[in-house]
């Protein structure tokens, strides 16, 4: 019989084991793993040539972001990719669990739902951080100036952005638990964010109504924070407004996401669909 002394390890052990599991699985698909990084580099090259062709026309709108369209777009695409991977990470693991029949066993373990969801997101975050670094490195090689970056502010902004994107990821995962196929929440937030958050153009070019709508999207504030801290070197004294906005959105979306996931699991446990796919 297991004694309490032997049954230690808790959530850090679960988080580590889940991360190792996901890393091993991802590495086993070597070609796909490598192609992801090759795709990122090609994406950067596309942005580079796009900025050479059309970048100058956006000139005055980009002054507060360091002035060059290439840097503006690289950070936009890098952070939106970061959001997409973070946002779909949890729901992808949930979907895999449904397909492989492991979700029910995960939920049979003596862990809180939050621990399982948090652990499931770790590999996605590592993957998205690696992709982000690759984007920034490739951007720097192609002429992006990061010399003025306010690293503590950029780090804090990135950390808050991760939590915000996870909140959206939780909402997306809750829908996947119930409806199985597809990922409509990720699709909706992804499309809306690319359109309204200023990934490839500043939000100032949008009509007033859409600009107001864009304030509800975490990516809008994450991009504002990352560009102005990493490219223009601004700190919390000038960035407190988008930082506060992102924190408020996170404070709203995160509990909703946790509640929605718990509710979705309960629905699946009631209708017996945890192991269905």
């Amino acid at each position: 019989m297991r004694t309490p002394e032997e049954a230690t390890g808790g959530w850090p052990q679960v988080a580590r084991a889940t991360f190792v599991r996901d890393a091993r699985t991802a590495m086993s698909y070597r070609t796909g793993f490598l192609l992801t990084f090759v795709g990122s580099v090609l994406n950067i090259l596309g942005i580079f040539f796009l900025s050479r062709a059309f970048g100058e026309t956006l000139g005055p709108n980009l002054d507060r972001y360091g002035g060059t369209y290439f840097a503006f777009a690289v950070v936009g695409v890098a952070i939106s990719t970061f959001m997409a991977v973070g946002m779909t990470g949890i729901s992808s693991r949930i979907r895999e669990g449904q397909m492989m029949g492991t979700l029910e066993l995960m939920l049979l373990s003596p862990n809180r739902l939050g621990v399982l969801l948090f652990s499931s997101s770790l590999w996605s975050h590592a993957q998205s951080l690696a992709t982000l670094s690759l984007y920034l490195l490739a951007g720097a090689v192609l002429g992006m100036d990061l010399g003025r970056a306010n690293l503590p502010m950029a780090g804090a902004s990135l950390a808050l952005s991760i939590v915000a994107f996870d909140a959206l990821g939780l909402i997306a995962a809750s829908v996947v638990i119930v409806i199985k196929q597809g990922n409509p929440v990720s699709l909706f937030f992804g499309m809306a964010s690319v359109l309204l958050s200023g990934v490839l153009y500043p939000t100032s070019v949008l009509p007033q109504g859409l600009q107001a709508l864009s304030q509800l999207l975490p990516l809008t504030h994450a991009l504002e924070l990352m560009r102005r801290s990493a490219l223009a070197g601004e700190g919390i004294d000038t960035l407190w407004r988008p930082f506060l906005a992102l924190a408020l959105l996170t404070a709203v979306y995160f509990p909703i996401g946790l509640w929605a996931c718990a509710r979705a699991v309960r629905i699946a446990q009631t209708d017996g669909s945890l192991a269905q796919y």
Partner: protein, 339 residues
């Protein structure tokens, strides 16, 4: 209600446990008949008690409700009504303490990470179930040895045969040394030799050596009869009968079975036997010049003498005869004939 007997502490108890699944119609039904609520009754009012260290069998055909009952007892499915306790904890109100007490082995081959090795899978599940790392390493080595799969442990899971996968499923179920183990058709996809090995391991190691309480769902009659001290027969979600083999025989009012093989043709053999008082369910099947006779004795004194005399008077020769107690097969068939 099936009771474990006076010498066992009750570890699993279910009281009027019921599960009704909502059935979703298509968009057409939703539009035309929005008030309609269709449902399927998977488990209907089941009550049972299973004692510490007992190997209890759930017997029923596919779709009888065995897996649904196990999923409710293992906290992954919320009952519609009724209650259940495992190790004294309510499965709905206190699922976490229940999960610390139990292990689950299903016959489903999915449930593993196929691109990881067997050992990596077990290491992951050990961490998930909070088994401390040094202990997990030792425990995995013990289980791999006792199940005779150590040689396969570092190969990828997708290269394993069904039998090896099932052994890894058993190893996973035992990682935490659970007090209660649920086995959901553990030999479903196995060949006869692998199935026998698995049964032997369950009996000799899990029940006899470790003293684990086991609830095993199966639709294999011989498996249930040879392994389980008590059996519950489930039909269409209801518990038809439960108890030891003697209790089931008594419940079904089944008497001993007399089997006779005679040589030589006798056209009126069956009618002659049927005329003997004290016999039931007379069956006579001719195979070449032999006739195989099976009758259920109803307990009347002298019935066997009368039967043999009547048979010999027809001019046939008795080649062999056996008296046996009704098997689970007889009980199961009688249960199906009853409903």
């Amino acid at each position: 209600m099936g009771r474990p007997g006076p010498y066992h502490a009750v570890v699993i108890e279910a009281s009027d446990l019921t599960k009704r699944f909502r059935q979703l119609g298509g968009y057409r039904d939703l539009a035309l008949y929005p008030w309609r609520r269709r449902s399927h009754l998977a488990v209907d009012d089941i009550s049972l008690e299973i004692g510490e260290g007992e190997l209890f069998g759930l017997l029923g055909e596919n779709g009888a409700g065995k897996t649904t009952l196990i999923r409710m007892l293992t906290t992954t499915l919320v009952p519609t009504s009724g209650s259940a306790r495992v190790g004294g904890y309510d499965v709905v109100r206190n699922p976490h303490p229940v999960r610390r007490l139990i292990g689950l082995v299903s016959g489903d081959e999915r449930t593993f990470y196929w691109r990881l090795t067997g050992r990596q899978n077990l290491e992951f599940f050990a961490s998930l179930y909070h088994v401390a790392r040094p202990r997990a390493t030792r425990r995995i080595a013990e289980l791999l040895d006792s199940l005779d799969v150590a040689d396969y442990a570092d190969e990828r899971f997708d290269t394993y045969s069904t039998g090896i996968r099932q052994k890894f499923a058993i190893a996973r179920g035992l990682l935490t040394e659970p007090r209660v183990l649920f086995l959901d058709e553990p030999t479903r996809a196995l060949d006869p030799i692998a199935a026998d090995e698995t049964r032997r391991y369950i009996n000799d190691h899990i029940v006899s050596r470790l003293g684990t309480t086991v609830l095993m769902a199966t639709h294999t009659l011989s498996e249930a009869e040879s392994m389980c001290r008590r059996i519950a027969i489930i039909r269409h979600g209801r518990m038809f009968a439960a108890g030891s083999m003697d209790e089931l025989r008594s419940r079904m009012a089944l008497r001993d079975v007399f089997e006779l093989v005679v040589v030589g043709r006798s056209a009126g053999l069956r009618d002659t036997i049927s005329a003997v008082t004290g016999l039931e369910h007379v069956l006579a099947v001719a195979e070449g010049d032999q006739t195989r006779v099976q009758v259920h004795m109803n307990g009347r004194q002298g019935a066997l003498n009368d039967l043999l005399r009547a048979v010999l008077e027809t001019g046939v020769q008795v080649q062999s005869s056996t008296m046996r107690r009704p098997t689970l097969d007889d009980i199961y068939r009688a249960a199906h004939a009853d409903t």
